[in-house]
Symmetry: C2
Subunit: 216 residues, 2 copies
DNA sequence: CTTTACTGACCGAGCGCTCATTCACTTTTT
DNA sequence: AAAAAGTGAATGAGCGCTCGGTCAGTAAAG
């Protein structure tokens, strides 16, 4: 199992056409993610994944090195989706004080929409080989980095008091994690308020933090 | 595997002495949690658990219905520990404005100390049968409930503005989750600040939230 | 156009193995 | 000697992954 650890990642096969390989890998990830969300990584069998993708286990292993490889594929595609969505809304948001609220709003909505996926990443990352775990964490960090950018931009324009680097970073992490929190606890929150209520309250929260000089 | 789902929980055995059973179950949980943290639930074998506990697989199964049973045992003992620690510090904390800061501080320190355990719960709860998953979530909620109490008490004494029920609840959840956040991201935060820095900054954060009337 | 040769995507039986669980037996306790 | 507690070899279901093989499609040779 996984002797050839020098390979950074990928393609374990004699098959030639690289476009086909890419397409197939996307198909596999797409089919696998549903199964992982429904049954978890461990209870999902490679045969199920093959079946859901629409071909045989033999073919599956033409495009994929191992079951773990599939999990990484899935995690990566989720992060790509989230990042794309966040980046998009950041561009639309512009800068200035409202921009922060707008970005928070869009991000939280993304979290709401993607909550199954976010949950999956929290729960199954551990099953990845350590090198790939690290990559997943880096992806996570890159998304948080987007919030750092937004905050820094707003501070520059003078719409927020001079927060030091640490305060900005912490605020960014808080945004990131409070978005995730919705996915963890929606089963509970859902009974009391809607995602819009949640966004409104947390935005107040985050803004009130950013509006005072931090002692850190 | 697990046919007899009517049983709410427990003892699957012919052994009579209930005290012994309880003691053995605690021993098992204690041994298992270390292994789960180190290798994860799925990669830990029942034999390893038996060995670590100091007896045979046969005996293990005298005290435990299934591997999942062990996982639940572990989750439950973790929550019990956390709850006890939080309750203790709450009593010492008294009431008034500082009390909140004090409770936050102690709770975050608990999170720091227990971070491996908290991580474990996030990651392995999924492997539990649904009924027990629900119990784990309820445990989580009970801890959050402690913060609700503290906040409500402080509001009553007039040391905080009149927060409505929802705001209090949200603040409580935020405390809870921002504590967990340290365990998820300590690998990153650890490079930049200590747990004390973290506590100081987040306390400012949470207090500034509580000090303004919330629109929710 | 027909025949032959070749390619590579796809298939799935089955290998090798792991691991949770059981139960006939032994040891210890009462 | 009876009951309780403890043992570990044996079981068999289930899994990830491999590999010899098929065959539609394309290219080359006639």
């Amino acid at each position: 199992m996984m002797q050839d650890l020098n390979r950074t990642n990928d393609i374990p096969t004699q098959i030639k056409n690289p476009e086909l390989v890419e397409r197939r890998r996307r198909q596999i990830a797409q089919a696998a993610v549903k199964l992982f969300i429904k049954n978890g990584f461990h209870k999902t069998t490679t045969r199920q994944i093959a079946q859901a993708t629409g071909f045989s286990i033999g073919s599956l292993y033409e495009y994929v090195a191992s079951k773990e490889d599939i999990l990484y594929l899935v995690c990566d595609s989720i992060h790509t989706d989230v990042e794309r969505l966040v980046t998009d809304t950041m561009e639309k948001a512009g800068s200035g004080r409202d921009a922060l609220a707008k970005v928070i709003r869009e991000y939280f909505l993304v979290c709401d929409r993607m909550s199954d996926f976010i949950l999956l990443i929290y729960q199954e990352t551990r099953s990845l080989p350590p090198q790939w775990q690290k990559r997943v964490l880096e992806n996570e960090l890159r998304i948080t980095g987007l919030f750092v950018e937004v905050l820094a931009r707003i501070v520059e324009t003078g719409d927020l008091p001079n927060l030091n680097e640490h305060s900005i970073e912490l605020a960014a992490h808080n945004i990131s994690v409070l978005g995730h929190m919705w996915t963890f606890r929606r089963w509970f929150f859902g009974r009391h308020y809607t995602i819009d209520d949640y966004i409104r309250m947390q935005t107040d929260y985050i803004l009130s933090m950013c509006s005072r000089k931090n002692s850190g």
